[in-house]
Amino acid sequence: MASQNPVKQKEVVEIEKELSFGPIHPALLEPYRIRLFVNDEYVEDCELTVNVAYRGIEKLFEGLPIERALVIAEKVCGICSNVHAFNAVRVIEGGLNIEVPTRASYIRVLVHEIQRMTSHLLFFGHAFEVLGHETFAMRSFLLRETFMDLMAYIGGNRVMASVPIIGGIRPRADLTEPLKKTILSRLDEFEDKYTDYVNRIMADPMVMSRLTGVGLLSKDEAIKWYATGPTGRASGWDFDLRRDMKEYKPFDFKVIVLNEGDNKARVVARALEIFESIKIMRQVVKNLPEGPVVNRQWIAGKMDYTIAYIETYRGELMHSYGLDEHGLIRNYKIRTPTITNLAAMEQACIGDHVTDAMVTIASCDPCLTCCTRAEVVEKGRSRVMTDQEVVRNYGWRH
């Protein structure tokens, strides 16, 4: 693949000018800054400044009791709130060997997949908004409402459903029989409409001509720049953590891997993943075992630094922390998928038109509120600074 793409070889190029966009810009869903280095219309290089929404979120966890920390964990990101809550409890469940009832585990998977749908449909909305196709974007937002509703029925809030708690799920989020019926019927309804929608997109020549062959990211590059999730899978990198997660063992689904590595592949990969998610959700609802939904037999005590990985909508997410003897959190670390996708994004948009580059960045589905670190290497020693310190020391440009 790499040889097909000679533009992206490393070479020194003269750069005519720089265009910068953001942090407030129609193409961005959240504050970050894009600097594109442009010759005529062609992007020669790209830099994303991502730590704009710095909230010092890892520091906030330090010294909080674990239950209270879950509230913050959920607010790491508003698109994938459930993932962070889910993974935060998986850490302590792994570290202290807390048993999770099967029913709870099933419902966690259900909510996880529901939010995968909202996230992927938001991606369509965003990608088509960036392509300039408002009708498809709005249609996608309309389809997304199905899952926002389901989320609200299960958890009580459209975005922050707070379903997972340590040892199971919140009893409020337990599935009742009528709710199960609703979910199945809404899924059927959605699948019909969604199939039409996807077919309509695939048949649109103008949209396809914008997407095909743009923003190429070969498999080698994807691995070299650590692309994860659908971004990596659209470049032929066959890796999905869901295959190894014990929560997903009972379910049968395919992992979508495409080889093209262009924007179209990234859109199609997500489009097909939605069908797999529907499959998983149906299985969850149909095979849901009876039993308790939460196990309260645990005490937070000393816990070693434990790591949990999960396959989120954008790739692989890591949460890790330890507990001290009072059960307070120490050393919380989060590594979100977008951090690893960033380099791939910067790479993929080289060699395209400016307008296409924006689509490429959007097609990698950035979600940047969660990526903020600054590390300074001073005289051989490295230490982490907050951004504010960086500016106090080095000043900023006006």
């Binding site: 129609p26 504050p31 730590n51 929404a53 710095y54 979120i57 790491v76 990101c77 508003g78 698109i79």
Partner: protein, 149 residues
């Protein structure tokens, strides 16, 4: 009603400033605007990304320090009369990021109550508020615009 008041009531341009929350509110605002189910435009609210065109500034999110200057700048670029709508708990009181701190005590990176930075006219609490509430909040900013000289 005078022509001035009628025109201001009938065409409202709103602009979104995401100032670094968790994104939930931004997406809900985008939902209120883009989703045909809510459709801000039917309430005569048109969306824009240009401060020169805007009447209502929607702010969502805690104010991260990097966005402090841009926020003030963009606020000052909007020609009078203008209204500010704070969406979500974040700009109102800093939400968990300001109030649920662990050992660090005070989170210096957050400049949260928006009132300290620019005058706020409407507050829509919630984490995140429902799109219906967002619509209501934006429309509540209108009387201020209408009454302005």
């Amino acid at each position: 009603m005078s022509l001035k008041a009628r025109s201001r009531r009938n065409a409202i341009h709103a602009m979104l400033f995401y100032s670094g929350g968790c994104n939930g509110c931004d997406i809900e605002v985008a939902n209120a605007l883009l989703s045909p189910r809510y459709d801000l435009e039917q309430y005569k609210v048109l969306f824009t990304w240009n401060p020169r065109e805007a009447d209502v500034l929607i702010v969502s999110g805690i104010i991260a320090w990097q966005l402090l200057e841009p926020l003030k700048k963009i606020y000052s670029m909007i020609p009078n009369p203008k209204a500010v709508v704070a969406i979500g708990s974040c700009p109102i009181n800093g939400n968990v990021y300001k109030n649920l701190v662990g050992d660090i005590g005070v989170n210096e990176d957050i400049f949260a109550p928006l009132d300290n930075i620019i005058p706020v006219d409407v507050k829509v609490p919630g984490c995140p508020p429902r799109p219906e509430d967002i619509l209501e909040g934006v429309v509540k900013g209108v009387p201020k615009l209408v009454e302005a000289p």
